[in-house]
Amino acid sequence: MENLMQGVMEKVKTWARINSPWAIHYNSGSCNGCDIEILATLTPRYDVERFGIKLQGSPRHADVLICTGPVTLQSRDRLVRIYEQMPEPKFVVAVGSCGISGGVFQGCYNVVGDISEVIPVNVYIPGCPPRPEAIIHGVVELLKSLQP
């Protein structure tokens, strides 16, 4: 009986997660380009809130961590801390060429590298910066992969 209840609960949770993921955004050293495109996805033309995706402030409420930029030495610890504060299960989306490979900032002395060197990444969205449509597509792909 208990097992059955647990199974049902899990199903409900997955359903809720897929239909309304809450996201948090952290910029670990980007040039801003990716960040303004992420903000643009919230505004009327793209409006991801109609899909139930909500950008909010606290890592403790978030399912998805949207990261931009290469990781700088200064923000590395913060990024790890934010990641650790998120409840399980958690997913990471790396936005932009910088998050994938370090982009143009490769080899700068204060840059650790791409995001996957610091935390595990689930989805990469290429582009410099990716268009808002691409960002939405990336998040949708992530949600699709959660479908049981």
Binding site: C31, N32, G33, C34, L39, A40, P44, P70, S75, Y109
Partner: protein
């Protein structure tokens, strides 16, 4: 900037990950009750070491690196860099290229100011205005995309000219876009000057007098809202600004309302300029040839970014790589003004005061030497490197 701590005071830390700011910065406000008595900022989370990185890349590669100092004002960075390199090489971009550079600069200013208007309104809790202005901003993003192929980081510049051209169809689209935006901007001006609730959050908040602004070195729209008559486009015209001049917009009140008004009036100037530019675009070539090795020398180039004066210092040793690239961006100049004007206001006003200078972190997280009277230290590159290694051990 040490936080003053007394037992009865309370320190409110904000950031570096913060829902309202899209970039990391850390602030500490000391409050007594609701009133802020001291403010400190810690920047540097997005310091990447680009100036040093530029020395390992060729001049052409640097153009694309410098464009990514900041995604919001990417064009002006590439512009300042290429103007400097062209001066060093002793060439000048053709008139049509100069006009297109100015056109893209002004379109970028429109996008940046509309972006700021939205963000600042959002900080004050006026989300409707945020959504409206960002919706309208998409118009200019579309225009930038039609002429350059990318919404952000347009890479319009090449050393010696531009790589994009404007045809009649694009010119028409631009004219239409400007008409639409002008109408909308009228509405915004009305909102920020007449709406009671809005004025309650902006009038006489964060006042910076002319003396303070002058002393703290505030520049750009932030300074101009306090009556500082400084604008590189007017003081030392670059690209085509001498043929298509811009009128200086200033205000005397120095409060948040004035900063809104100055930026919105600058939007009108930009609309006018953009229209003039597409109507009277000079004909001709788009590029001149620039040698791969840039002759030895030093140069300073200045342009007016949406946030204020942007200065590049370039030093060449005659090779295909720069010896030194130094960037001075406007946001850093304006930070101190926030920390001063914040004192004495309610904590609830802080987000708007912060947003009032249109802060941007990605461009100002550079190594700075603070010249305090007593304990100032100078480090050379080796010391600094060693210090960094020790610090992060």
């Amino acid at each position: 900037m040490e936080p003053k701590t007394a037992p009865e005071k309370f320190i409110v830390p904000i950031g570096p990950q913060h829902p309202a700011l899209k970039e990391p910065g850390h602030f500490e406000f000391t409050v007594e009750g609701e009133v802020v008595t001291n403010a400190t900022a810690r920047l540097g989370f997005v310091h990447r070491g680009m100036e040093k990185g530029a020395e390992n890349r060729t001049w052409v590669q640097d153009l694309y690196l410098m464009e990514r100092v900041c995604g919001i004002c990417s064009h002006v960075h590439a512009l300042a860099f290429s103007l400097g390199v062209e001066k060093l090489a002793g060439v000048q971009a053709p008139p049509r290229a100069q006009a297109i550079r100015e056109l893209v600069s002004e379109l970028e200013r429109i996008h940046s100011h509309l972006l700021w208007l939205g963000v600042a309104a959002h900080e004050g809790g006026f989300d409707t205005l945020f959504m409206f202005s960002w919706r309208d901003r998409e118009t200019v993003m579309d225009l930038l995309e039609t002429i350059s192929g990318n919404r952000v980081n347009y890479s319009a510049n090449v050393l010696g000219g531009v790589k994009i051209d404007i045809n009649e169809k694009q010119a028409d689209a631009i004219r239409k876009g400007m008409d639409f935006l002008e109408e909308r901007t009228q509405h915004y001006l009305k909102v920020v000057t007449e709406d009671e609730t809005f004025l309650g959050r902006t009038r006489n908040i964060g006042v910076m007098t002319y003396e303070q602004a002058d002393f703290l070195g505030a520049i750009g729209p932030t300074g101009r809202a306090s009556g500082v008559k400084r604008d590189v486009r007017v003081d030392s015209p670059y690209t085509a600004y001498s043929d298509f001049p811009v009128n200086l917009v200033t205000h005397t009140h120095g409060d948040l309302e004035a900063r809104f008004i100055v930026r919105i009036k600058e939007l009108y100037e930009s609309y006018r300029l953009v229209r003039e530019l597409v109507d009277k675009m000079p004909a001709g070539e788009l590029t001149v040839k620039v040698p791969r090795r840039i002759p030895e020398g030093e140069v300073i180039s200045r342009v007016e970014a949406p946030r204020g004066e942007l200065l590049y210092f370039l030093k060449s040793n005659g090779s295909d790589k720069p010896e030194r690239v130094k960037v001075r961006t406007p946001s850093l100049c304006n930070w101190s003004s926030v920390l001063v004007t914040a004192v004495g206001h309610n904590l609830a006003d802080m987000p708007m005061i912060l947003a009032g200078i249109d802060p941007c972190f990605s461009c100002n997280d550079r190594v700075v030497t603070v010249n305090r009277k007593t304990d100032s230290t100078q480090m050379d590159w080796e010391d600094l490197r060693q210090y960094g290694i020790e610090y992060y051990k």
